[in-house]
Amino acid sequence: MSSVVDKVWATLEPLTDPEIPVVTLRELGILRDVRETPEGIEVVITPTYSGCPAMGQIEDDVRASLEQAGIEARVITQLAPAWTTDWMSDEAKEKLRAYGIAPPHRTCGSGSGGDVSVLKFVRRQPTEPVACPQCGSTHTVVTSEFGSTACKALYKCLDCQEPFDYFKPY
C-alpha cells in the first residue's frame, strides 16, 4: 500500500456517522476503499439505505477532510456489493451498545442476497431476542419496526423499562 493511500485512510479515520457519532465511517462499512488509479486517488463510499439522508453529509465530510489535509482525491459512491451490517466490526458493535443502541444480533449471510430467500422476512417467526443495551436483559419487545433513522427499529426492555434503538441486521 502506498504512503498516499495510508495517509488518506489516516485522514478519514476520525470521521463518524452524522447520526451515530460514536462509530466511524470505516467501522460501519460506509467508507469502503481508498485506491490509487491512473487518474489519481479514489475514495469509495457506499450508502446504507438507498434513501439515507445522511449520505450527502457523509460525502461532504469526506471531501472537506481531504481538502483540509491538502489531498486531491475523487469520492465515488458504489452500490455493489450492497452494504450489510455484517461488515460492522465487533469493536463497532460494542461502541453502539455502550452508546445505548442495541447492535445487530445476527448476520445476514451473503451481502449480495443471491442465496438468501426473499421470503425470509415474510413469516412472523420467533426471532432470537435482542438484548437491552442498558441492563443486558433479553426480555425485550419491539415497539416499532421503524425508528428515528432508516437503519434502526424501536424496542423496549421489559425488565428495566428503558426504550431503546436497535440497529437492524440488514
Binding site: 438507498s50 452500490l79 455493489a80 450492497a82 442476497g113 426473499v118 422476512f121 432508516a150
Partner: protein, 260 residues
Amino acid sequence: MSTPIDYLLHLADNAVVLGQRNAEWCGHGPILEEDMALANVSLDLIGQARLLYQRAAELMGGDATEDKLAYFRGPHEFRNYTLLELPHHGPLVGYAAADRDYATTIVRNFLYSALMVHVWDGLQQSADPSLAAIAAKSLKETSYHLHHSRDWLVRMGDGTEESHARAQAAVNHLMPYTEEFWTTSPAEGAAVAAKIGIDVWALRPAWDALVNDALAEATLTRPNFHGYITEGKIGLHSEHLSYLLGEMQGLARAHPGATW
C-alpha cells in the same frame, strides 16, 4: 444491447409515485409508530427512484438529470402502475376529498412489495450491472416493507369487525389493478429480450402464493376479477396521477434550478 430507458423509468416511476403517495401520511399517521414507518418506507422508495433515475439519465446522456426526469415530465410520460397513483381511499373522482384510509395504504403496500421482492430478486442477475446493484439494495428494503405491510394486513383483516370490513373493501378495490402487473409492455418486452429486465409473468405463481397465504391468515377473501386492465405503465393513467404530480412537481417548476 443497450438498456431500454423506458424500463428503468417504469421501475423508477413506480417507486417515486408510491413514495410520494405514502409521504402524504407524514404528520398524519394513525399512530406515531406508523407515521415514522410510512415516512421511512417513502424514504427507501424515493432513494430507489433516485438511483434508477440517475442510471437512466446517465444512459440518456446530454443534459438529462434525475431531477429533470422526476420533475419535468408530464403525467403521460410516467410509466408507473396505475395502482400506485390511487389516493388512500376507495373509488372517488380525482377532485373529491375523503379521509385517508389506512387499510387502503397497507393493502397497496402489501400487493406492491409482494411483487417487488420477486422483481428485485430476479433483477440481481440483470445484464445491466448498475441495475443489478440497485436491485440487490432494493431487495433488502422491499423485504422489510413486505414484512411491515403483511403484518398490518393480518392485524386488520383478523382484527375487529370494522378493521376487517375496511381491509376487505381495500382488497376488493385494489386487487383488480394488480392485473396490470401481468401484461407485457413494449419496454418490458425489450428489457427481457436484452436480459436486462425479467419476465414478470413468470413471477405470478410466487406472487399468488404469497398473496393467498397472507389473505388466508388475515381471514380476507380474494375477489374474482374479469374486467378492464389498467395501462399506467404505457402512460395511460387515471386522473389521480396529475393531482399527485401537481403537488410533487409544483415547487421545482415554479423555481427551476432553485437550491437551498
